[in-house]
Amino acid sequence: MILVPITYKGGVYRHDEIVDLIADLGGYVIQKHVLATEVVLLCLVPREDIPLIEQIGRPLGGEVKPSPLVGTEVAIVTPSLSIHHLPHPACDIAEYVRRLGAKSNMIGLARGYGKRVAQTSAEEREIINEHDCAVFLLGNFDHCIRKKMVALRRGIDVPIILTGKPPTEDLQKAVDPPVAGYVGNVGRFMHRTKEADELERLDAIVAEVTRVLDLRREEIAKDPLSASPARLMSVIQAQVPEVLEVTSPTPITVQIAGLRVKLPYAEFADRVRAAEVEEGVTIGQLADILPSRMRDYILVRIKPSSETDIVV
């Protein structure tokens, strides 16, 4: 059964029927937003059952759209959190990838500015490495990007998507060895993106993030995970119900190969480790349960089946 990411938008009235349907079909609701009279469900559902969800949702005013970034966590890395880089373009891009279903986290580096002095700290690198990919928002000068990217990429293990003002071809030439993706004609700007050509640039970033994450999924598919992250999410929700009381929009953030559980590590790590996925198989056997560098959260990194000899 292949699960595909979709967004369901419809009225609040009887939306629980859709939630039940998705569960019955073997799918998962990753995130649910209730906005006044509208509900938005970010879900993973079996590919062949999408027409059925559309059919049942239609009388309820429901609409199903593919959302390639559902179930991913993306780091939007900006050289600083000053007026130079915020709120545009960093917030605009973080918000835009969120619309396509990704959970985006904005990371403002303490010393990411300047071509000579740019650097990242160990903590920043570790936080970035907890994501599925990192979008680096650099500036307007090819010369500076060439110099500072050497320092900024050091120690980053997740795929990097580099954005900047120079055209994409120039960005590709500027970085050696190459990074996973490039989006040119973005750079630093100080107004809200609302014109058509600016939205096209945001679309280009989303397309590049999607392409890079698809490659990552293909890579993982060669040695499949011991369990799907969405399944572990539902297991944790059932067996560690305290997570349902967390007020964060995503108490459990689903990643391509893991989860971020927003509960204190010291208190809940053992319970997450001991949660039973199937009879005799616990999460601790399938995944590494690690302390996250983000607050005191729990990071679940699912091991490949070749390592555990288990697929559930």
Binding site: P79, S80, S82, I83, H84, H85, Y113, G114, K115, R116, V117, A118, G139, N140, F141, D142, H143, C144, K165, P166, P167, N185, G187, R188, F189, M190, H191
Partner: protein, 194 residues
């Protein structure tokens, strides 16, 4: 943005368009676009160096006490009858500084009384006192705006303002020895007839 002269120079073509947009947005956001008449920016990413030179258009005029108050003197006190409250806060600050809070009373919103004191009599030319110079705030806003336009890593900075002409230089390294010559050259290019 309508300026008599607005040029951004840089060896990288895409940076010119990017910084033109950034300068445009920042000056409009800070309500400076109407105040500035000419602006010329040069950015050298190699050194790296950012220089902005420019001139203000017609500056808002300075405000004296006589512009918004009448002064009446008696042997015991000097009474100011206020006709416009806009500059009242600045006026009170200056009076408190000069004569002390115990001598300055405000019986109602339109009246200020300053008690006479033989040790420090109220100045006879009080009516000519300069209360507010809007260009001071304007220059402060301008410097803030230019720093927002300049790349963030350029932390070594200097600026100068005199008689409606301003310049700001910023770099990541120490500023070059020939900075004055560069600034003069930019001013002459900016002020050359088109």
């Amino acid at each position: 943005m309508v300026l008599d002269h607005f040029v951004v120079e840089s060896p990288e073509a895409w940076a010119v368009s990017a910084y033109t947009d950034i300068a445009n947005d920042v000056l409009l956001d800070h309500n400076l676009a109407r105040a500035i008449e000419r602006l010329h920016i040069e950015i050298d990413p190699e050194y790296p160096l950012f220089i902005a030179v420019g001139t203000f258009g017609r500056l808002p005029s300075v405000v004296h006490l006589k512009d918004f108050a009448e002064v009446t003197r008696t042997p015991e006190k000097v009474t100011l009858g206020i006709t416009d409250e806009t500059h009242l806060a600045a006026l009170l600050d200056q009076l408190w500084d000069r004569y002390g809070r115990n001598r300055v009373e405000q019986p109602d919103r339109w009246t200020i009384e300053i008690a006479e004191d033989t040790e420090l009599p109220v100045a006879p030319d009080l009516i000519e006192m300069l209360v507010s110079d809007p260009s001071i705030g304007l220059v402060r806003d301008l410097i803030y705006a230019l720093l927002a336009i300049a790349p963030e890593g350029f932390r070594v900075r200097t600026h100068h303002y005199e008689n409606g002409r301003f310049w700001l230089a910023a770099s990541e390294n120490t500023l070059p020895d020939d900075l004055d010559a560069r600034v003069r050259s930019l001013f002459s290019r900016m002020e050359a007839p088109a």
